[in-house]
Symmetry: C2
Subunit: 576 residues, 2 copies
């Protein structure tokens, strides 16, 4: 492609709204443009990268035995109501009515649609297993679309669904997909890790793993143990301390009863720590949640963070959220900041670490007062006890006891063992080999294709712009003619361009009438793997060859073509 014709509107300024580095480079480099919040247009370079990613995904899906289909975005809401996701997704679901008033949703994923398809088409175990996938546009009305393609409202997903006669079959399909995901993300040049995860809104009776790309800008926390290989996301991660009876935070001898003391305006853990002179580990945080519409009280040690997924799982709730001020007042009799467990009637959900405290400071359920010398078990009784907190850097690994480390990551893929969750609710069954009716045993497997593109940039960039891995680069080689009015430069560039193209190498020829500085800046920004600069040294028969992050090497113009072919073969062989 000749750059003069290519529509690649690079910008001089970094757009103000771009928070994530991938978003910044994609807008600056002319890869994408925003149409509305969380809704983007892919320009030619962006579309090309997407297509390369899609091609890799298709190859690996076919290799894993999955067959491509294409399901509609418009979904009759009756299907989502049947599965329960209509309410579960709530405002995240885009809804609309057709001209006759029938309600549709724009598909956030396609579990219900594919289950209803298979229910209709497969009646016998003889036709199983089957795995179907699609690369298709999804819609979710995110509360806070942000970070460009990392959290959009209209985005491309690869979603796959497997149907088996039994859990053994599902395990095989799950493993095949798990393996395919490893291959896909490796081929995209990503530094990633599969972690144990919680099934979340999509639900699942069996295991589930998230694939996380390491990135500073990631919204997720990856917890892992370098010693034994344990890895989980923060919602799911456990530590050995959770049940170990950690008594280190006692404050001396136990008093005979708790004592109310004046804490004027000291609403936060920080204020208490500073004013009382204790450590955060001596305080109990009392959090009021609404769980499926009912108030519950969660107790967490002051130096810990509550984990809402664990709270939800402990009580089997579908939706929980922090209670509003009115509810706090109704439940505790005092404003937020002074809540405590003593005397409350709402169910108390107590983290193990709180249970292990000898005595503690808590709110007094009275404005400007707290209690000290509160003893768990004596002064309040847990309704349920469990692991309700986020693990922390340095906690002991639940498997081997070594220290856990944490890192930020971007969720790029997710594999689920759904089991009968959808097939049961939708009445999707087949006749097994013994003549008995059984629900399909399902798995589902997603990759955020557009998000993957952003994650790759998060990992492959520097202060000058993007650095594309060869496998998904929009073009392989960037030929830059420094001065188009110079005949020798222009002709050498054109000749090399023709030679590479006829060898099947995708080359971009910068034939624009721009200043050399602009051309080199744009080249860094766009970040193609190999660059050839045809400049003044052409009088000596030389051109400059350079990998995007490598050093400049002068080579004979005549030999540039074959050298480039060798380099690309090397890069491609190393997956670079």
């Amino acid at each position: 492609m000749k750059q003069r014709q290519l529509f690649v509107p690079t910008l001089r300024e970094v757009p103000a709204e771009a928070e994530a580095v991938s978003h910044r480079w994609m807008v600056k480099g002319g890869f994408i443009r925003q149409l509305a919040s969380g809704v983007y247009t892919f320009l030619p370079l962006g579309r090309k990268v997407l297509r390369s990613i899609e091609a890799i995904i298709r190859e690996e899906m076919e290799r894993a035995g999955a067959q491509e289909v294409l399901m509609p975005a418009l979904q009759p809401v009756e299907l989502l109501q049947q599965s329960g996701r209509y309410d579960l997704y709530g405002q995240d679901l885009f809804r609309l009515n057709d001209r006759s008033g029938r309600e549709f949703a724009l598909g956030p994923t396609h579990e219900e649609v594919i289950t209803s398809l298979i229910k209709q088409e497969i009646t016998s175990y003889r036709k199983l297993p089957v795995t179907l996938y699609q690369i298709q546009t999804k819609f979710r009305d995110e509360r806070r679309p942000r970070f460009g393609l990392l959290r959009g409202r209209e985005f491309i997903m690869k979603d796959a669904y497997s149907f088996d006669a039994d859990w053994e079959g599902l395990a095989r399909n799950y493993d095949a997909m798990y393996e395919a995901y490893h291959r896909i993300f490796s081929r995209c040049g990503l530094n990633f890790r599969a972690v144990e995860a919680d099934a979340g809104a999509i639900g699942g009776e069996g295991g589930t793993h998230e694939f996380m790309a390491f990135a500073e800008s990631g919204e997720d926390i990856i917890v892992s143990c370098e010693a034994c290989g344990y890895a989980a996301n923060l919602e799911k991660a456990e530590s050995a301390q959770a049940t170990s009876g950690d008594m280190t935070n006692s404050i001396g001898r136990q008093a005979e009863s708790y004592l109310k003391f004046h804490t004027p305006g000291w609403k936060t853990i920080e204020q208490l720590v500073e004013s009382v002179g204790c450590s955060a580990g001596h305080i109990i945080k009392t959090l009021i949640y609404m769980a499926d519409g009912q108030p519950v009280v969660v107790l967490i040690r002051g130096d810990h963070e509550a984990n809402e997924t664990k709270i939800k799982n402990l009580i089997g709730a579908e939706v929980i959220e922090l209670a509003d001020a009115d509810t706090v007042l109704a439940v505790t009799g005092s404003p937020a900041g002074f809540s405590g467990p003593v005397g409350l009637t709402a169910p108390l959900l107590v983290d193990h670490h709180v249970d292990d405290m000898k005595e503690a400071i808590t709110g007094a359920n009275e404005l400007d007062y707290h209690l000290k010398h509160v003893v768990p078990g004596r002064d309040f009784t847990a309704h349920l006890t469990g692991d309700l907190r986020n693990v922390q850097e340095g906690d002991a690994c639940p498997h081997c006891g070594k220290g856990l480390t944490t890192a930020r990551g971007i969720e790029i893929g997710h594999v689920f063992k759904l089991g009968n969750r959808y097939s049961g609710k939708q009445g999707a069954s087949f006749v097994d080999s013994t003549g008995k009716e059984q629900n399909f045993v399902m798995g589902c497997y997603g990759i955020g294709v557009t998000r993957l593109m952003a994650a790759i940039i998060e990992q492959h960039q520097d202060e000058h712009g993007m650095i594309w891995p060869l496998s998904i680069a929009p073009y392989h080689v960037h030929i830059i003619v420094m001065a188009m009015q110079d005949d020798a430069q222009r002709e050498t560039g054109q000749k090399l361009y023709d030679e590479l193209r006829s060898a099947g190498i995708e080359a971009l020829l910068d034939d624009r009438d721009e200043r050399p500085g602009v051309k080199l800046k744009d080249a860094d920004l766009i970040g193609l793997p190999l660059r050839v600069v045809v400049g003044k040294s052409i009088v000596e028969g030389l051109v400059e060859l350079k990998a995007r992050t490598g050093t400049v090497e002068r080579v004979q113009a005549e030999q540039a073509g074959s050298i480039i072919r060798d380099r690309l073969a090397q890069l491609s062989g190393t997956g670079g």
Copy 2:
């Protein structure tokens, strides 16, 4: 692919709701399934055909210099309001609100989105021309979705948009696209014709052509002249008679004034013809329309059909529709069926052929009465006269005077010279070479990708099923092992399958435990180009080779692979 694993749920019964032959075969052959009215899922075979069509389109778009982008389905309605299409599309537009109440439409096409993009990114003639295309899902809430993929509510389109500095540039881009469309449809094996068309709701100041695939099930009429090559769709087609002063339908001497006569219950042209004993050509049909909210009266000869596009164009209306009963009563003073032009005050729009009538029978604007001896010009005065009727088979060609023929067709593509229609309304301009601000001169170019798939089947099928052209067949060769329990048959089939696959030929191996009759019926239904039957004659070392519509030929099993490669090369060379 082995058919045992392939998800291709063929049906024994033709589904009752399938009106069009392509719809019938696609459902029966397991290519598609309906999810909701006008909303379909593509199963593996259907998805594969789609991808082949998409690949051909991409190749030809790139060859024509167009660059691929991807725009969102969600469009802020402000853009459509600016262009006027928000009202124009009316109920055909799917609309929805996001969680903050902002209104979006699901894109029916993308003129406004791309115009706003280019407005923002291109400011100088130096960056022109540019042509961008996408293959993307469109949404239209059709009043009557039908014929399967021929008229759906969610469908795939290839839409391209060109931006030029002047009309000469547009003409070049338009010609390039016109040429690309010819190549695309030829490569898909279609019998088609480019016809002159009316610009319709999308609007356009320049020329526009529709590409029509000939098909009995088509909703459009193609008018053409075999003598000079003139071709147009029915909305646009003209005939020499339109302005020729055709006096043949006079009924003898002209009476001095019209005469009211009793026509009890004779509301239709047919009833009048039968009861009065005149020909339909002696009657004036009086049609009451609402044009942009105002009533107009249209007069058409009784043996002709009104052409709403021509009516709209004559008065420059955006929307017209036949008036309801109340309006007819208000405008004429009588119920429908007895309307006539005499004495009406609403504007009379008169077709040339009515203007040419010596005298005529019309309604009397009184229940159960008509008038005879009505003389145009004497008894009523035209507000406007023009060509307002559909041409008919045998009419004289407007260019050469020879007889026109008509045929049914499916619109598979459309190219428009839009000019400034969108760039003007959206204020999208650039600075030209003289420093003057100019609106972009635009063209737009659409192909209904999913509809194209249906049109191909409409032309390529017989009483047994589909007959895929090689270029888009889901697989090239169907290897059918008649009895899987027979070792020689099974092994020969497998060997041939391996051989073809390693030669890069897409083969489907029917390795199912089905009866031979079922296998052959399914093979006919799915319609792959070449078939190899491995059956009893394997004891003589022979297999049966057959094109989908050809005769059976026995060949040495050993040589089958190389013979098939030759045949495919031949087929591919002839575009078959």
